[in-house]
Point group: C2
Chain length 383, copies 2
């Protein structure tokens, strides 16, 4: 149990995954809010929108026509942040020069995919049943498997999978071996998302990006120091006993507000058993992961009776890496939602937070309790 | 000179201050924007607002009346994130238990001040002359000096300062010795600021917050590896020669877009000579710092002819620390502004950025060029 005094005093909590601290100021929740109000989402979207580039059968910016897909559809982003082909870059190296010491750059190639979650323009993950979420997890798994290094210990597991292959098989074939695949979703205009049609993104890169790289260091350290134990397996076990930060759990997954959460209603979904990556899951585990995603996103919408904005993303083993890196990795999902008090009042991570340290008002235990108790049917269905 | 190819290819740049990478995708700037539009600021504020808790003579939430101040006024935040007095917290330690290993917290005390920048409700730093900015720098310096550890090598310098003391002398007296003072400003509703009256904040804490702590590690490392050299002094010297990321410079300061900038028009103001903290500056240097702040904020407003939102903050030596920490520190100011293309289109650091790695479209060199060429009179004065 978190010591009750932590509900009353300012304190810092240590983020085990990042090796960094965050400031918690529970009393500050009483602050009146006179700042910016977000616009609540309009919920009057049509099931099909002729102007949407993600709806089945519509034509995209590059002239291609979407198939009449039934659950997911994957294509390469027209405005990819990284590309498979570009000019080569070999930075000039003048040993001893200030420029060589201080201005460091390296080329990055990769591929950016967009994945639709449903043919229906007006649905979100919160509207989908676990059975409708399973094909999304299968598509993610297929893409991950198709991009895995043949040298990875995961490649063999991937070959043994029973998931039906992507019908658009060639899209998943990369030109080169990439190092990491980041699967994520931005939901809501507040989170920079410009199309409400349910979709996510997948970026692969030659580099191991900062966040998974920082986490991997902590995983490796813990594994070495604790005789092969896995940081997040131990953490999920502890949280499942402590209960007070738990939002939902089933046989395979723990979902809750991490002890060190930065965002007011931040949630992490963690596999109870060590799973290095998506390809390690069997049918039952994929179904339970789908259930956990459905439970979290539905509670989010129920909390303030709104389309809850968030960025969400999967962390797992790199596509290519050392055996130590792959064996230390552990599959988990982060949800980073900005809302604080209502559908229109968000938390700003600005000023002190950008310059000094992330800060939160409501405690993770208080947030978890609210999410735990707002399960059940989606509020929109009851209206 | 940055190699020209970096204008065309995706690459990562290394942030020397944080020891971390950011992804740059210059071609992505061509992406059409269909997402959220910010509301442009209304510029019809009165010089005095009877309902503003920061205007001279008005009464604040706690019943206190503001004096009729002429430039700055400092008071303790009614909704402070940290407080001087709170219950003591001694975390329970059970060696070997999962909870002790995984759930780490520590108490934080401190003090949060608000500082007004001007008695006029409708002005911003961009509207003020350097001469009007000097009293703000003097007030920051006084507060910093009053909170310094008597053991710090800076304490003696502080005692020798010629700045007129704060008239509200006792407010600056802390109950305890704090470790760090974070001086910052949130400007604009987009940056979580709820009152347009020009003001900033100052938070002191018993802990050294994450960001200055990360920078300090890099400063110490550079100093050890480069025979006592200072990372930012070397960097300012190089940038001042390279010119292409320079926005403005005078005898004491370099201001420009850092090579590793995350935000589209991010700017750093760096002292050319090693200055550990505010108290190291003399009258001339304070005047030149005021000029640099005026030049940066005026260019920001001119860029998109709007009240440019940002979070800005000072990094300098800790109030209390080892001699190595204090001697390795270097005064600088960060400006983190969110706007990307116009007064209404911002950059979202979400999704990939939160889960994987910060990402930018326009290059730092392109951003610096635009800021460099939009100096001169404030656009509002010309209307
Ligand atoms: O203190 P304020 O101006 O009410 O609040 C603002 O600045 C604080 C410090 O950066 C942040 O923690 C808040 O999220 C933000 O809204
Ligand atoms: O790719 P989108 O959806 O157009 O853009 C959105 O997601 C990207 C990846 O998280 C971010 O870089 C953008 O700032 C955001 O607006």
């Amino acid at each position: 149990m978190a010591e009750p005094i932590l509900n009353d005093i300012s304190h810092r909590r240590f983020n085990l995954l990042r090796g960094s601290w965050i400031l918690v100021s529970p009393h500050r929740n009483k602050r009146p809010w006179q700042g910016l109000q977000e616009s609540p989402t309009k919920t009057t979207l049509p099931e099909y929108d002729a102007k949407c580039y993600l709806c089945p059968g519509n034509t995209r910016a590059n002239g291609e026509q979407n198939p009449k897909f039934t659950n997911t559809f994957v294509f390469v982003n027209d405005y990819s942040a990284v590309k498979e082909e570009q000019q080569e870059f070999h930075p000039e190296q003048k040993p001893g020069s200030l420029a060589t010491r201080l201005l460091r750059a390296e080329a990055v190639t990769g591929k950016c995919y967009v994945i639709t979650f449903s043919p229906s323009h007006h649905l979100t993950l919160a509207d989908l049943t676990p059975a409708q979420i399973i094909p999304i997890i299968e598509t993610w798994t297929n893409l991950y498997a198709a991009n895995l290094s043949p040298q990875s210990p995961l490649a063999q597991v991937a070959r043994a999978t029973t998931i039906p292959p992507l019908t658009q098989g060639d899209i998943a074939k990369p030109n080169a071996q990439y190092r990491y695949m980041q699967i994520f979703e931005n939901k809501g205009t507040t989170m920079g998302c410009s199309n409400p049609h349910p979709h996510g993104q997948i970026w692969t890169t030659t580099s191991l990006p900062e966040e998974p790289s920082i986490e991997l260091e902590q995983f490796k350290k813990y594994r070495r120091e604790q005789g092969g134990a896995n940081l997040l397996v131990d953490y999920a076990e502890l949280e499942s006993k402590e209960k007070e930060r738990t939002v939902f759990e089933n046989g395979s997954f723990w979902a809750g507000v991490p002890y060190w959460a930065v965002w007011p209603f931040e949630v992490m979904i963690v596999s109870r058993q060590q799973k290095r990556a998506l390809v390690d899951f069997d049918d039952k585990e994929r179904a339970e992961l789908a259930e956990a995603i459905a439970e979290v996103t539905r509670r989010y919408d129920n909390l303030f009776e709104t389309q809850f904005p968030y960025s969400m993303g999967l962390h797992q083993a790199p596509l290519e890496g050392s055996v130590e890196e792959i064996e230390s990795s552990h599959f988990h999902i982060h949800f980073y939602p900005p809302l604080l008090r209502s559908a229109t009042v968000r938390k700003f991570q600005v000023g002190y937070e950008m310059l000094a340290e992330p800060q939160r008002d409501i405690t993770p235990e208080q947030a978890a309790e609210r999410l735990r108790t707002c399960g059940g049917e989606l509020y929109r269905r009851k209206l």
